[in-house]
Symmetry: C2
Subunit: 135 residues, 2 copies
DNA sequence: TATTAGTTTGTAATCATTACAAATTGATAG
DNA sequence: CTATCAATTTGTAATGATTACAAACTAATA
């Protein structure tokens, strides 16, 4: 990505300081952070940051299609700026969320042929490799 | 299913009146009801029913593997007693949740080979056929 | 019948998220 | 530069789903 500000502009989002920082954090963080995580991480650089701004900004990102909400966790929503098609695995032991590649071709029956699909999520749950070996 | 009481017993759940009614409702209801829906639907037959009982019972069902939580909605969790592998489509317009068949063979890369997968969910979002035709 | 464990219930607490209005910032025109 | 207006940010209060907890009730057992 050349420039986050330009990228936001391209997507119809006015690039305020907070929005740029939040998007940068999402981009550089593959951990699918929660609002709490984002807020805590940025509160150092932006001492006046409000949690409401984080919520608002994420909502804008989602509306404009440059981020997505991951409801893999029943407690908090997680966020992802990596919009390429991929699935998520949540380890029930260490709570880490892993990305994995998936290709849907042929996996789907034709029941949804007349449905307009705007988003697809694949959530797997279980025990990750690390936790399995460690126990 | 021969008998819900026996089925619960088989799965290590003592078949109380409330548990039987809640499971029957889940079984006969393909709408992926919320706790609120279940509570309202059964409150007629069981006037003393407590919402806490609905929560507790569903937790037991999930622990014992005879129901699953569907976090396709960001607000409320939905529940499903149909444990055969299938995906869920949520229409953003009418909020209906549809089932659809899916077969994962070959859709997955080998990244998760050493992971223990205990559950998999597939959530699609968009506009359903009915809403598309209606507009 | 008495005892005990398991179940249900109602209420209070928790906590992620949203609503809302005031404060701040940024852009634009005179 | 200054005034004006819109967009953005902020803090606080409300909302509402879920959980914690303890008392009431039920079922089983001796
Ligand atoms: Mn991801
Ligand atoms: Mn279903
Ligand atoms: Zn793990
Ligand atoms: Zn619809």
């Amino acid at each position: 990505m050349v420039n986050v500000g330009d990228f936001l502009k391209t997507n119809g989002i006015k690039p305020s300081y907070q929005r740029i920082k939040i998007y940068e954090f999402l981009m550089n963080n593959k951990e699918h952070p929660t609002v709490e995580t984002i807020y805590n991480a940025l509160n150092g650089q932006i001492p006046t940051l409000s949690k409401t701004t984080v919520y608002n900004t994420l909502k804008i990102f989602i509306d404009k299609g440059i981020a997505m909400a991951i409801t893999i966790d029943e407690i908090e929503v997680r966020f992802d700026a990596h919009m390429d098609m991929h699935g998520h695995f949540k380890c029930e032991q260490c709570n880490t969320i892993y990305d994995f590649n998936v290709n849907f071709e042929g996996a789907l029956s034709d029941e949804l042929n007349d449905f307009e699909i705007t988003e697809q999520q694949m959530f797997f749950y279980g025990i990750c490799k690390k936790c399995k070996n460690h126990s």
